[in-house]
């Protein structure tokens, strides 16, 4: 390991001071100690990279930093606030080699460093089928047609005048963890699980709009949602879902949706895979049969052994993952750690999360942090003291229907290895004696 562990008081290696150094101490020069210690540390494999300290304390305490001794910047110098200049590593990223063109690709959210349950809007994962657009809200129109008494057109003015609700929900791509169906393919939780985000969405219940147009309650069994972008993405949603908790949303985390997330209007279909949350939403059509669009007939269909494809697979079943420590990270030393992760279910609330550090042999129940909301990410935490020996970390969620998250072996027994979609298997992270954590599969 090669860690910078500033701030830790580290015992000096014996005999690391030569006679000149000792003389310098006697002469009252203290600051050399840091340099001498560094040289000693550099020379010692055990100490490699450890930033040691003067014996009288931490120079970061002893010498006041500039921000304690200068005037800070005025208000509104950043009218739209940005993260600290030190926060440059946690970015949404593409997985090299996954797709060939970045306009029909995925950028994964950096789950390994996020806290709580809300995904910062700028780090929300991206999946576009034909690139993203920044749609002019004044020119955007939303239409409802098909089996309705009055086909109607709404402007953003119209929609934002209607009664609104705000709900916190997760969105997960149906292909999240899809690269791992056959074998371990990517190193970190960003790439294994990063097609997952959670936001507070604000908008109008679709039910209200369907009723406003007088939808056909007898024959209207399905709705088609359609985007205004080049791909004009379309997906079928059952009327049961459409009338339940689906939102025609314009707000995300207190502001308007981000363009990459469908500005100014997107569908929010809680518990259902992201592809149904049509972005840049321009139309809802009521019909009496599913529409068999491209993204429910060629893609987002689940191949099962025997050669059939499951069509209209939509619900994201219960799933959880430890986000830290996780693949590609390394523990900074033995001792106490907070195992933290996320759990969610497309069928309702998370009831319980168990964590194992021995590959699933023994489990302890983790703390669920509030809020625990339906079809939303739920944060779990568990105390852990790492004794320096190898460990296999797993989390396992049980949702309010009693469904227990499956192992990859159980999933493959039902669906083979070629499904691509809806892999909700228990994730294993192997901790090596070195502290390095890596993605592994057991079985």
């Amino acid at each position: 390991m090669n860690f910078d562990q500033r701030g830790k008081l580290v015992r000096a290696p014996e005999h690391f001071l030569n006679h000149e150094d000792i003389a310098a101490v006697q002469a009252g020069r203290r600051d050399f100690l840091r340099g001498a210690m560094l040289a000693a540390a550099g020379a010692s494999a055990a100490m490699a990279g450890t930033r040691a300290l003067a014996e009288d304390g931490d120079p970061e305490i002893l010498n006041l930093p500039p921000w304690s001794k200068t005037l800070g910047k005025p208000v509104a110098s950043n009218p739209y606030g940005q993260p600290s200049k030190y926060e440059t590593n946690l970015l949404r990223r593409e997985s090299p080699g996954l797709t060939r063109v970045s306009a029909a690709s995925v950028a994964f959210a950096p789950l390994q460093g996020l806290f709580g349950i809300i995904t910062p809007s700028g780090l929300h994962f991206e999946r576009h089928h034909q690139g993203w657009q920044d749609v002019d809200p004044k020119r955007h129109r939303f239409m409802i047609n098909g089996l309705v008494k009055t086909p109607k057109v709404y402007t953003m003015d119209d929609l934002m005048r209607l009664p609104s609700v705000s709900r916190i929900h997760f969105i997960e791509c149906g292909a999240n963890t899809g690269m791992e169906w056959g074998n371990v393919a990517v190193p970190t939780v960003q790439y294994t699980h990063g097609m997952l985000s959670c936001s507070e969405f604000t908008g109008v219940p679709l039910r209200l709009l369907l009723e406003d147009c007088g939808y056909d309650k007898l024959h209207g069994k399905y709705v088609l949602a359609e985007g205004a972008d080049g791909s004009s993405m379309t997906r079928t949603i059952s009327m049961e879902r459409a009338l339940d908790d689906v939102l025609v949303a314009y707000g995300q985390n207190g502001e308007m949706l981000r363009p990459e997330n469908g500005y100014p209007l997107r569908l929010v279909v809680p518990g259902v895979q992201g592809v149904s949350w049509v972005k840049w939403l321009r139309r809802i059509k009521v019909g009496d049969m599913p529409f068999a669009t491209k993204d429910e007939s060629v893609h987002y269909i689940d191949l099962i052994p025997g050669g059939q494809h499951r069509q209209y697979t939509s619900v994201q079943e219960a799933k959880s993952v430890i986000t830290s420590p996780s693949g590609g990270q390394a523990l900074v030393g033995k001792g106490f750690y907070n195992i933290t992760g996320l759990a969610w279910s497309g069928r309702g609330k998370v009831r319980r999360v168990d964590v194992s550090t021995d590959g699933g042999r023994n489990w302890r129940t983790a703390r669920l942090e509030t809020p625990v909301l339906t079809k939303a990410l739920t944060r779990f935490n568990l105390d852990w003291v790492w004794d320096g020996s190898p460990a296999l970390l797993q989390s396992r969620v049980i949702d309010e229907t009693g469904f227990v998250q499956p192992t990859i072996v159980q999933l493959r027994a039902m669906r083979g290895k070629k499904s691509i979609y809806h892999n909700n298997a228990i994730q294993t992270w192997a901790v090596a004696a070195s502290g390095e954590v890596s993605n592994v599969q057991l079985g």
Partner: protein, 341 residues
């Protein structure tokens, strides 16, 4: 007057004419027939929504060569930009409506026509979203023609076929995977039931502790340097995967001069090039094969690494790699040409 102007003018007119008695006074307005017509483009499996029109395989081929082949290949076979459209089905599949190659579950690529069960989907998607960089630019007749050509690529229709709103119905009865979909699963509705049945054992559970899969060492840096994808403070650090060896435990045998292979890893070459397999760019072994016995090419290839290029291996450009020095580029090229060991 622009189209948008016309819509606005029409809207103003209707607002005056029709005031429907609805719950939310003053919100929204009835859509005009022309507006519905402009957006109501979906075509269902029963062909509701399919406009009248006609197009032949031959006409489709002409459009294809001009607007589609650059991404999909002349015969819809290309795997370069998108997954292949054509191939993988047989005459027998047309008879059974099940693509037999899917049952084996061992085909390297599932093509579009292997999976597609409804021909309406093909027509709808081409019409709404193709060509990729100019969606919605194909006319109705163009769409019929391109659809006919794609079907012809898999021998679903003969070379002299003309597709129209009537003949498309007979085509549906020949779609190779028309019986290949099932909705018998628990993932359609929220109230559905899952197909796995794990139990929440807590102590001394039967667990398999054998590691069956992990990333090979050569792929450590394939997703970029993980050190740079984590904070430099907090409970953990990202692992520095740009260095060839990871764990500090192994004795310092290889830890001295970074090998050419390590350089290829740390320079991200392996993100796009496999040693033996094509990823986005060609496999290194294929490059070595092409330039075998031509050592004079090394210098120009090294320059190309730094400057980027396009065309020698297909249409996907290689971006400039100016993070590598000219010396490093030469090291890399020599290593590739020597077989990338």
């Amino acid at each position: 007057m622009s189209n948008w102007g016309k819509v606005a003018a029409g809207a103003a007119l209707i607002a005056v004419m029709a005031v429907p008695v609805l719950g939310y006074d003053g919100i929204g307005r009835p859509a005009t027939p022309a507006e519905i017509n402009a957006w109501n483009i979906d075509v269902r499996p029963d062909f509701q929504g399919l406009p009248k029109g006609t197009g032949s395989v031959a006409q489709g081929q002409a459009i294809w060569d001009n607007k589609c082949a650059s991404c999909h290949g002349t015969f819809g076979e290309s795997n370069e930009v998108f997954t292949p459209l054509a191939g993988g089905t047989t005459k027998d599949d047309q008879r059974t409506g099940h693509v037999a190659a899917l049952a084996g579950n061992n085909v390297p690529q599932r093509t579009t026509l292997m999976k597609l069960s409804t021909v309406s989907t093909l027509w709808d998607y081409i019409h709404r979203a193709m060509p990729w960089n100019a969606p919605k630019s194909l006319s109705v007749n163009d769409t019929y023609a391109v659809t006919a050509y794609v079907l012809n690529l898999n021998d679903v229709v003969p070379d002299n076929f003309v597709l129209d709103q009537d003949s498309i119905r007979a085509v549906q009865a020949k779609m190779p995977n028309r019986n290949g979909m099932t909705q018998a699963h628990g993932l359609w509705l929220t109230s559905g039931k899952g197909d796995t049945h794990n139990v929440a054992c807590m102590k001394g559970c039967p667990a398999v502790l054998t590691i069956s899969s992990q990333l090979p060492d050569y792929a450590r840096n394939a997703s970029g340097n993980l050190m740079e994808q984590n904070r430099s403070f907090g409970p953990v650090r990202g692992v520095n995967t740009a260095v060839a060896t990871a764990a500090p435990a192994p004795a310092p045998v290889v830890a001295t001069v970074p090998s050419a292979k390590a350089l290829a890893e740390s320079s991200n070459c392996l993100a796009c090039h496999g040693v033996d397999t094509k990823i986005v760019g060609p496999a290194f072994r294929d490059v070595a094969k092409r330039y075998a016995g031509k050592p004079e090419m090394a210098a120009s290839l090294a320059a190309k690494v730094r400057a980027g290029g396009q065309g020698a291996w297909g249409s996907i450009p290689m971006p400039p790699q100016d993070q590598v020095t000219p010396e490093q580029a030469k090291t890399l090229v020599d290593w590739v040409l020597a077989g990338a060991q």
